[in-house]
């Protein structure tokens, strides 16, 4: 495999694991979405789409281990990070596709912009449709119990 180096194209997708605890209820749309907290880190681990592709790996391969079996996967384009003055760098360690999105101290508005632009690749059931990736294949995993209970109770109240 040829290791990719240097800057990625602005349209390259960056994949980030999303913990089941960072899924929240959207009462306006009556569905589940990812929290901005999933993008709140000065140095945020991601996986490069181009590197995964060159190794013939599916994006979901980064959540295939037992430790990640309840996790979801979101994608955000390099362009979005660059527009927010974040640095996108390759940092292969255990995984050749690994990288980081690095910025100064996190701002909530910045995290929000990242989470709004992010799209699900591996989504929880009941995920908001608008948040599913438009072009890449999307798969689903069971929604985390706490947000699901929350969503179900508000839907039940609205039906009354």
């Amino acid at each position: 495999m040829t290791r990719l180096a240097g800057p990625a194209s602005p349209e390259t997708e960056l994949f980030r694991r999303v913990s089941p605890d960072q899924v929240v209820v959207d009462e306006t749309r009556r569905c589940l979405r990812m929290s901005s907290a999933a993008f709140r880190q000065a140095e945020m681990s991601i996986y490069f789409q181009d590197e995964l592709a060159s190794a013939r790996r599916e994006p979901a391969s980064v959540i295939e281990t037992a430790a990640h079996r309840n996790h979801f996967l979101a994608a955000v384009r390099v362009r979005v990070a660059l527009d927010l003055f974040l640095e996108v760098r390759r940092s292969p360690g255990d995984d050749e596709a690994h990288g980081d999105v690095v910025g100064k101290k996190s701002s909530h508005q910045r995290d929000k912009k990242l989470s709004r632009a992010a799209r699900w690749i591996v989504a929880p059931t009941h995920a908001c449709r608008e948040d599913l990736h438009e072009t890449l294949p999307v798969s689903f995993r069971p929604a985390p119990p706490d947000p699901l209970t929350h969503l179900q109770s508000l839907l039940a109240r609205a039906q009354k």
Partner: protein, 236 residues
Amino acid sequence: METGLTSPFRIISDPEPERREPEWSVASSSLPIFRQAATRKTTPGGTAQASGMILLIGEPEQPLPRIRRAPILSTPSSRSSLEIRPIRGASVRNEIGYPVVAEDDYSVAAPRPASPAWLDFTTNRLRNLLRLPASWDTYTARPPEKAAAERALDFLFRHHRFTGATPSIVPLTDGGLQLEWHRDGIDVEVVFPVGEPVELYFYEEVTGHEWEGPADAGFLLFSLRERLARPLQIGE
């Protein structure tokens, strides 16, 4: 400043320590996950009244003792909304949102019927989050801190209505927590980072207005007490 519910955590700094009896303080000081919460005031006639809640927001690290008696007097008016039961033999183990009122015969009330609509989900969710191990995000996250959970609950009691919408609660990688509401076309996120001030983020879809700043001020500025208490309408 206009606030919502009275914060239930004031008993911790008791303004009249000489009137406090040992059983009360033992319960709060020796049990790290046990929050004894009550407001207390002295009437002009010299009697005192107290009411509040006991909240358990974690797994008990040791068996909780039975409360033998409570030290503070209540006025008859405070009984009207509470079901009073004898304290003797009452156990608070595994109870959540257990309001108490201390009476002149040292008794404790049963759960108050009108607890906040959001309380059950919130305390259960906090309890689940406080069980998270380090690296819960599969990266380098710290486990959520109890202090952050207490700050979040305190914020809700101060600002949120009894009938307010239930928040989503997510852990932060620094051990803090975040409350979120996404409803009625607005996004509200209240961040409780470790060792930093509480911040609020507000976004309104129709206007595109975005704001970030101190949480207390933001909650008032955008009338969030009222906006987050509006009932959901079908098709809204």
